[in-house]
């Protein structure tokens, strides 16, 4: 049957395109779209609700005067007056900014350097390395509030460990003297931060190719030269992480000073001023929000710098 054959051939040639079209149109069925929408949408909603709404709310409230009592209709809008007052008529503000900056510089310099040193030393194949790592890391598992409590005991003028060790019983008030207490607290914060930095660097050093060190040795480099010319440059990604972690620690420092003296008498930090004005007896919501926005702007400075670097790196790769 030649006609029948021709007809069959004709229908055969026209079917494949239709089938392909159908498959394409059903690549994402309605249920699939719903599932995908939920998986993306729910986290997005949570993120917007818990991060962006409070942030924008804080920015908006910073232009208001409100004591937190009553409804939103009781809010009085006063433009930028809160910012002017914070910058010019709040004696605690600039000391708090200075203290946060000191905190940042100190954490970047001292605990980071010490943590790096510990990491390099413990990275060698030595006996009891694990024990030393555990000992140095232990403070990291303590909350900063607990660290504050521990160091309060150590710094006690009459019965504290520090004064008794150096023979100054009753004389030096490490936490009560506003000219030295910030540094005393920084030592306590460093006690905890060092272990964290050490751990990060140890992770980086584990990934270091031993062949690089061997090559350097063959070229006659000593330990010092090997470290600065081979090890440290290779650790650059870890350095960036350590820097970010340190900035975060410095900007969000709060619990350790609050436990010690509620952030007074030389221990003012921006976070303390925010809570004193919003949560404390003051109930100056607008004023505290303005300080919160200042802290946000400072944080954004560091965040944007970091993100620019990350994106630039991704573009290269």
């Amino acid at each position: 049957m030649t006609l029948a054959e021709q007809l069959d051939a004709g229908t055969g040639t026209t079917r494949p395109p239709r089938r392909r079209a159908r498959r394409k149109s059903t690549a994402l069925s309605l249920p699939d779209r719903i599932v995908l929408l939920l998986m993306v949408g729910i986290p997005a909603v949570v993120h917007i609700a818990l991060v962006w709404v409070p942030t924008i709310g804080s920015i908006v409230l910073s232009f208001s005067e409100w004591d937190g009592i009553g409804g939103l209709s009781d809010i009085k809008w006063i433009g930028t007056k809160n910012y002017v007052d914070v910058f010019t008529a709040y004696p605690r503000f600039w000391p708090a900014v200075a203290h946060n900056l000191i905190w940042l510089v100190f954490l970047i310099v001292i605990p980071t350097a010490f943590g790096l040193l510990m990491a390099v030393l413990l990275d060698r194949k030595m006996r009891f390395s694990s024990i030393y790592q555990s000992i140095l890391y232990l403070p990291v598992v303590l909350s900063l509030a607990l660290v504050g409590f521990i160091w309060q005991l150590m710094y006690e003028p009459d019965k504290g460990l520090v004064n008794n060790l150096i023979g100054q019983v009753g004389h030096i008030n490490w936490l009560g003297d506003s000219s030295i207490n910030l540094y005393a607290v920084l030592v306590a914060a460093a006690w905890r931060h060092t272990g964290y930095v050490m751990l990060l660097f140890l992770a980086g050093l584990k990934a270091l190719d031993p062949a690089l060190k061997e090559a350097a040795s063959l070229d006659g480099a000593n330990s010092w030269q090997t470290f600065w010319r081979v090890t440290f440059p290779v650790l650059k990604p870890i350095n960036i992480i350590v820097l970010v972690v340190t900035v975060i620690e410095a900007l969000r420092a709060y619990d350790i000073v609050f436990i010690i003296n509620r952030g007074r008498n030389g221990l003012e930090l921006l976070s303390i001023l925010i809570t004193d004005n919003i949560i404390g007896e003051s109930s100056r919501i607008g004023y505290g929000s303005a300080i919160a926005v200042v802290l946000l702007v400072i944080s954004l400075g560091f965040i944007i710098t970091y993100l620019v670097q990350v994106f630039r790196k991704e573009e290269r790769s």
Binding site: T26, E65, A89, Y90, G176, R284
Partner: protein
């Protein structure tokens, strides 16, 4: 030929999973709803809830004894006790959330603030039957800006210059009548090997009391209250004079004042290592405890003869009702009980460092300290409540606390401290 449909099964599976998830969410929601329902409708009319900041052991036990003695119409009191300072800091949120029927609080500006904000219940009708138990000054301290009563006084305690009787007898000290005599006495104490003035400012509030004493003696009651209301210039000559007088006292201060807790400072007075302390009778009395017989006091001395010692600082602690009280009738009965002599005497039996607010209390049961306190307060022409109760809470806790800390740490910074206070006062009071 019929072919099986390979895509159908996966699609069905996804739908089934979604249905299960939604059903699970529905089931999970049920317990929460049930809990909410039972919570809102379950309050009993036989229970009065009581929010308390009497968190230290002595006052806590004393108050428990008082509440145990409340036996009216079969009512039961449920006490929720919170740390003293935390209660004070969070009270704004507390009163707007789910407050207890009755709660402990302070007289004066802090009470009027909540009354004017609509967070406290008007109890003027309760005062109708209480009026003859209290003085005009106490009623004024319990009255809001609208002329209605919102507060029931329970007890008060005077601030003064406290010392150990035996220590003073040992060294032959006499109460100073003038500020110059105080300085002379302090120097003699130092020469005798004692700390002259015991000071512990770690909590931030104790030295507010010293400012009050100095200002009341330097500038008098009217200026003090005007300053507390934000109507005076903190950079003015009168306030400067207060801090100049304060500078004269600073050499007598205990070392490390800013880092010490007031409890430790008071222990120094008890132990005979410190000569005297500006503090309230309740605070230092609780530290003396079993040795209360050894505790004595005198008025903070005269600075300007025009005012003499005519004003006494005697904070009044008491109770208020929440606007949102569930059991209003029971709460008012509790307040009536708390205003009675038996209730206040029950409290003071466990904590004999204060004096009852009610005038119907039999003072024959008082110890020597309390009798002296009663006389001290009754002879006063004016009574103040304490800086952080007489002024805006933000100004007190933020501006004043930190300003005074700055001054104590660096007395020569007084000009910048006062400028800072003036600017913050302007920002806060003319908001």
């Amino acid at each position: 030929m019929a072919r099986p449909r390979p895509g159908q099964l996966p699609t069905l599976d996804r739908r089934s999973v979604l249905k299960v998830l939604l059903a699970g969410a529905g089931i999970a929601a049920v317990p929460g709803l049930a809990a909410c329902g039972s919570g809102s409708s379950g309050a009993e009319s036989k229970t009065v809830t009581f929010g308390s900041n009497y968190s230290d052991p002595v006052p806590r036990n004393a108050l428990k004894a008082v509440l145990d003695g409340f036996k009216t119409d079969g009512l039961t009191v449920t006490a929720n006790t919170k740390d003293h300072n935390t209660f004070q800091q969070q009270i704004n949120n507390y009163l707007q959330g789910h407050p207890d029927d009755v709660y402990s609080w302070f007289a004066g500006y802090r009470m009027r603030y909540f009354a004017s904000k609509g967070l406290a219940l008007d109890i003027s009708d309760t005062w109708t039957s209480l009026g003859d138990s209290f003085s005009a000054a106490q009623k004024e301290a319990s009255t809001g800006s609208d002329g209605k009563q919102y507060f029931v006084p329970f007890y008060s305690y005077p601030w003064a210059l406290f010392y150990s009787k035996s220590t003073w007898a040992k060294y032959g000290y006499q109460p100073p009548k003038t500020f110059d005599e105080l300085i002379t006495l302090g120097n003699k104490m130092k020469a005798d090997g004692l700390t002259a003035l015991a000071v512990g400012q770690a909590d931030g509030w104790p030295q507010l009391g010293t400012f009050d004493q100095l200002n009341l003696r330097t500038n008098g009651y009217d200026f003090h209250m005007s300053l507390m209301a934000g109507k005076e210039d903190w950079k003015g000559a009168k306030v400067k004079a207060v801090f100049d007088n304060w500078k004269r006292m600073l050499p007598l201060y205990q070392d490390n004042a800013l880092g010490r807790k007031w409890e430790d400072a008071a222990q120094g007075v008890l132990a005979g290592k410190a000569g005297m302390m500006v503090i309230g009778s309740q605070q230092i009395g609780q530290q003396f405890a079993q040795k209360l017989d050894d505790l004595d006091f005198c008025a903070f001395p005269t600075i300007d003869p025009q005012w003499g010692t005519d004003t006494v600082e005697a904070p009044i602690d008491g109770f208020m009702m929440s606007k949102k009280a569930v059991n209003v009738d029971g709460g008012k009965k509790l307040l009536t009980y708390l205003a009675s002599a038996p209730a206040q005497l029950t409290y003071l039996k466990s904590d004999p460092t204060s004096i009852a607010a009610s005038s119907k209390v039999d003072e024959g049961t008082y110890n020597a300290l309390q009798k002296k306190c009663v006389q001290f307060v009754s002879e006063a022409k004016h009574i103040t409540q304490f800086l952080d109760r007489d002024t805006d809470p933000g100004f007190a806790s933020d501006a004043m606390t930190n300003g005074i800390n700055k001054f104590l740490g660096d007395p020569n910074s007084v000009d910048s401290v006062l400028s800072g206070l003036a600017e913050q006062a302007k920002s806060i009071f003319t908001g």
